[in-house]
Subunit: 449 residues, 2 copies
Amino acid sequence: MSHGASAAAGLYAPGMPAAATSRVSTALLTDQYEFTMLEAALADGSADRPCVFEVFARRLPHGRRYGVVAGTARLLDALADFRFDDGTLARLEPFLARRTVEYLASWRFDGHIDGYREGELYFPGSPVLSVRGSFASAVVLETLALSILNHDCAIASAAARMASAAGDRPLIEMGSRRTHEEAAVAAARAAYLAGFTSTSNLEAGRRYGIPTGGTAAHAFTLLHDTEADAFRAQIAALGTGTTLLVDTYDITQGIRTAIEVAGTALGAIRIDSGDLGPLARAAREELDGLGASATRIVLSGDLDEYAIAALRAEPVDMYGVGTSLVTGSGAPTAGMVYKLVEVDGRPVAKRSENKASHGGAKSALRRYRASGTATEEVVYLQAQGPDRREETDVELAVPLVRDGAVLPGLPNLEQSRQHLRRALVSLPWEGLGLSQGDPAIPTVMPPVR
Amino acid sequence: MSHGASAAAGLYAPGMPAAATSRVSTALLTDQYEFTMLEAALADGSADRPCVFEVFARRLPHGRRYGVVAGTARLLDALADFRFDDGTLARLEPFLARRTVEYLASWRFDGHIDGYREGELYFPGSPVLSVRGSFASAVVLETLALSILNHDCAIASAAARMASAAGDRPLIEMGSRRTHEEAAVAAARAAYLAGFTSTSNLEAGRRYGIPTGGTAAHAFTLLHDTEADAFRAQIAALGTGTTLLVDTYDITQGIRTAIEVAGTALGAIRIDSGDLGPLARAAREELDGLGASATRIVLSGDLDEYAIAALRAEPVDMYGVGTSLVTGSGAPTAGMVYKLVEVDGRPVAKRSENKASHGGAKSALRRYRASGTATEEVVYLQAQGPDRREETDVELAVPLVRDGAVLPGLPNLEQSRQHLRRALVSLPWEGLGLSQGDPAIPTVMPPVR
């Protein structure tokens, strides 16, 4: 495995071995136009021009207050597998000239990448990723970079709101069944990054070292002649610390049966349907009445950040979240774009009616009050620097790739998770609310030219 | 490659070789609870009980009138790779007993699968997939089956509405950058199945034989000193039949430059921003005025089925659709569930408050008027048969897997695409509308017991 690949794999979890499977090339996870542009640029010599492409979101979805950067480590890993082997080249031959195909045979990304670290907050206009290299080097990464960042940032941004709403109560990610089978693995990772406690997805456990969990579905109860038989079988196999699903038939009776079978040391019950608030209260009373005051209550069933917040005052010990997590709770994509902003050291920008963009290679810093509260996101032209620098300003981009090689020592998933936790604390308090509104802090952009 | 795998690969496109890459095991694309249930069921002997699980959607999203089945061929392909090699087993050892791990080492799906064919319409309650086998055989397929069907059906269902709105005008799928990198490939397939003409995604071209297309982005114009330079380079490399993107600076000037450089034989122009209707009209006038009356107009930029319908009267030759396609146009998951309905030949069903389900193994037929218009979806218990059978009734499920082996001769992607086209014609006319409402035909369900 190349240096780049090992370094990227190391990002996922400290001490984990690199992925056991050697991934096939990622070079065809690409829109065709990137290669036709490359062909035309090779022909007229412009392919060698030094360029800077930037990834940013023009806006946050649905009046959200902040976004969460996620996917960078996955992107760096995929970049290490972005190569043109014979099978890949064969698929380009039908629409590319021979000399383009020959050029790609020895293509390797040899540029630099900087970006916001995973777990960092972002706002409209934040230059989340910056790719510097020849046009030929950088243009072909558009789709791969955007696919990964748009998906993972969307999930992490929704997950962080759920984690805020849940407070100290643990959150289990269990949405794999509601999204594409590979997106599910990435979603579990993004959710964990954003504060979820565990996932039901085993491949996410294998690939990223995320804690996994799960006990039983309604099918297990239905498989047995009686609910008591099912509970007995589960306790025998998984121990009394397990979670019994009590809403297959009648919840009150289900709880009674659960404690009869497991005793008062039962780990938890799960309720997956109905009006969850009143049901949690009734279940708590019943459990306490049966002497099972340490038995916890897990709720699941169409929960989103609003439902979680509404359950704050109820006796709930843990939430399982599925559909709303993997679909970004109404915003399944982060809407990020990959734009050419600099050619030959000069700023470039399109001037389309509703999509004008800011030319010039940019960096960003976050400005804070002395108290530690963030006040604004200052995006500035690298050629000019920010309007001023204050002691509490923090530069946001970190170097990720140099001369095509992923840098060693980048933060791992646990570190990124901690970073986000700290970053959220720095937001003005209204920025953590669930209601729609402006971004938690304003972005100061350089002038459009 | 096993018999099952080759047969499934053959579904994708006639005459295509099986995928060049051997996929790693899909067995960990699974929720942990499926294996803990298996362990408990092995211990008390219930794992051998003959079971039937069914996949269905309780409702269609957002007042949609119909759903489109997609993903079945992908599921059968993934099923062929659902096996427990040493690496997979190693990841199960931390939470499974040794004897469960040993059992899984020789696990192989040996049951039967029936289902609606790809490109078939479905409605609330339609038994889209039916898995028959021992509990041990069928329970572990839940996540894989639902992930694939929930994603692909969601995309195909949205795509079919866009194709209806576009009428005879071609639709290009270009949403890869807005969704997970592997979901993008599946989305391109689902879109093609549902009537899209081509995709920008090269891996979808490689894997499924879907026509691919793409020419240039704004970056290519910005890379050059002038728009004319960029157009000249593109024409030189791709020929005058190419599509020039004319909205980087000023659209009117862009069109003028395009025809100056390419001549009146220019294939097409693309407009990606602004108020697309008026812009298309102005562009058509200008092109005609320049003598380029055969040059086509491609529109893209935040199109969805409603925007496409609103452009019906405008001089548009082709649509490019991205974000709204890959996010299911507001419904990114089909909401299908995988439910145990029969054990030992007896119907089972949970009686939860808001999620009651219909016990018993079911089949379905679609009832038609003599004119060929569908009138209802009749879901019936296999043990009972439908209330009656009429000459025009059509059984909806087809056998897909027998004794664990994918059946040969299943419809390929082109055939499924044609099937959907015919199925849509059979809907009552109001069922093809975009407005919210009831399902196009009612589903008659067997009584809940």
